[in-house]
Amino acid sequence: MIEVQDLTKSYGSVTAVDHVSFTVNKGEILGFLGPNGAGKTTTMRILTGYMPATSGTARVAGFDVFRESMEVRRRIGYLPENPPLYPDMTVETYLDFVARIKNVPAERRPARIDDALRKTNLEDRRSELIKRLSRGYKQRVGIAQALVHDPDVIILDEPTVGLDPKQIIEVRNLIKGLAGNHTIILSTHILPEVSMTCDRVVIINKGKIAAVDTPQNLTSQLKGGQKIHIETEAPEKLLRDVLAQIPGASRVVIEPARAGSRQTVTVEAAQGNDIRSQVAAKIVEHGWPLFELHGVSLSLEDIFLELTTDDASHAQSSS
């Protein structure tokens, strides 16, 4: 349904999107995951025809987003990063306006508006002025606006921003319910969101794709890999050297002792290496006390950090 090939967008000297390629199948939910400034919004703006790419192509339902922009726009519902609302309109007149500019025929408009209001739980706010709504309600009007013309493709830029936890769950369920009939791309920084709602994930960082896979595969890809959590008392530099020398150990992060907590160490090991016994042996060998040692499997969160953070900054942050 959506095919993106070598898409690149530069703002002057800044390359916001750098040779990005991916496809989304009909009825699928694709999650766009990346830190701030990764290029998620930029990619979505190109897909929706808001701005042209510097190079590369993108097709929606077989139409080129640039050359056949009108055809693409007819088929897309889009929630921009900032919900595009008219504060002086009521929710209902706003949705009516959007339905009109999305070419919904007059006889279908009331039913479509009701449907969008129902799906976003806005029925009791339909005659309220948008400017009087809270942030979360405004966000919901933004989502309703993207659904009102029942588009084939729905692109949502951070749809759950500003919603309360209950609403977040409702919006996720709404999105899941839309899949099948609609093809959906959503962006987020929230990892659980991706694992809960999406069929596939594109992890993007600094404009480049770091990984494309199902949330399950991404998690299991590094499942074999291991993270070992240790509490001990040892000179930091020596400890780091000793642990780093263990074959298979990939990264050592040491958090110094603080009031109320002991020195903690995290050692990461590559896939297929169980180094727990070796770590224990080394510590005992040096006569350091070993208070705790247990293995933790990597979560999606860790994988995300692994893929999107470079080593320099990672060494400073403890995980």
Binding site: Y50, M51, R73, I76, N82, D88, K102
Partner: protein, 261 residues
């Protein structure tokens, strides 16, 4: 077509749910009523003086009061238009960009021409609504005059104001599409309007260049209308002016995609 109408409706709704339209119409009403009174009494005073002079020299005066009032009143109207149109158009695109709703319009199956025309026609409608009450003073005056001046004269005058206003609104919309800052948009529109206004100064020079400048001035053609003359060359002038700036606005809106948006 449906989208153009949707945008037009939205703009009109925007004018009338906020105080904008009422303030504009009210202020315009007060100012024009005031000036109409001043002009009427001045002109009547003048006609008395003329009559006295006429009696003294034994020649009957042919001073046409309604025509003089109309000429003066339309003159004042044109000056008011110069001040009102920049304020009317300054937010047309600036606000849309600030709120991020431009992103909605530009990702909807709506052409730039539909966006621009919808907005332009809405501003023109509000302008016409502002003018409407002033027609009542004129009609009142004409009905009370003897001999009654031809209605065509009044119609020509209003056609002139609409065309003049329409031109400045087209100019103002274009300027508004260039900047996100409303104040800058208003100031530039005013300055640009003033500039094409005073091109008229070319009137005093008899050179060929002077004649060209004279043709380009917005106000020069307006004066024909206020004298009840509808000249084709003036119609062509205003029509081209409006078409040119609507076209430039379309290009400018289109280029927003290429600018950093």
């Amino acid at each position: 077509m449906g989208s153009l109408y949707a945008i037009y409706r939205k703009e009109m709704g925007h004018y009338f749910v906020s105080p904008i339209a009422y303030i504009f119409i009210g202020l315009f009403l007060i100012l024009t009523a005031f000036f109409f009174n001043v002009i009427l009494s001045e002109v009547i005073k003048q006609s008395f003086q003329m009559e006295m002079q006429g009696m003294r020299f034994g020649a009957p005066s042919d001073f046409d009061v309604p025509a003089a009032v109309m000429r003066n009143f339309f003159g004042i109207l044109s000056t008011l238009v110069l001040f009102f149109t920049p304020i009317l158009t300054m937010s047309v695109y600036a606000e849309e960009r600030k709120r991020g709703t431009m992103e909605l319009l530009m990702t909807s199956p709506v052409s730039e021409l539909e966006i621009v025309l919808g907005k332009y026609l809405a501003s023109l409608s509000l302008f016409a609504l502002m003018l409407l009450p002033t027609a009542s003073y004129m009609i009142f005056m004409c009905l009370r005059s003897d001999p009654r001046p031809p209605w065509s004269m009044l119609a020509a005058g209003y056609a002139g104001v609409l065309l003049l206003g329409g031109s400045l609104l087209a100019l103002g919309s274009f300027v508004s599409s260039l900047t996100e800052n409303q104040l800058i948009a208003a100031v530039i529109t005013f300055a640009a309007s003033l500039f094409i206004w005073v091109l008229d100064i070319g009137r005093s020079t008899d050179s060929g260049g002077g004649a060209v400048l004279q043709y380009l001035s917005v106000i020069r053609h307006y004066e024909d209308f206020t004298r009840g003359v509808i000249d084709t060359s003036s119609l062509i002038y205003y029509a081209s002016f409006i078409v040119l700036f609507v076209f430039l606005t379309v290009r400018s809106v289109d280029s927003m995609r290429w600018r950093r948006a």
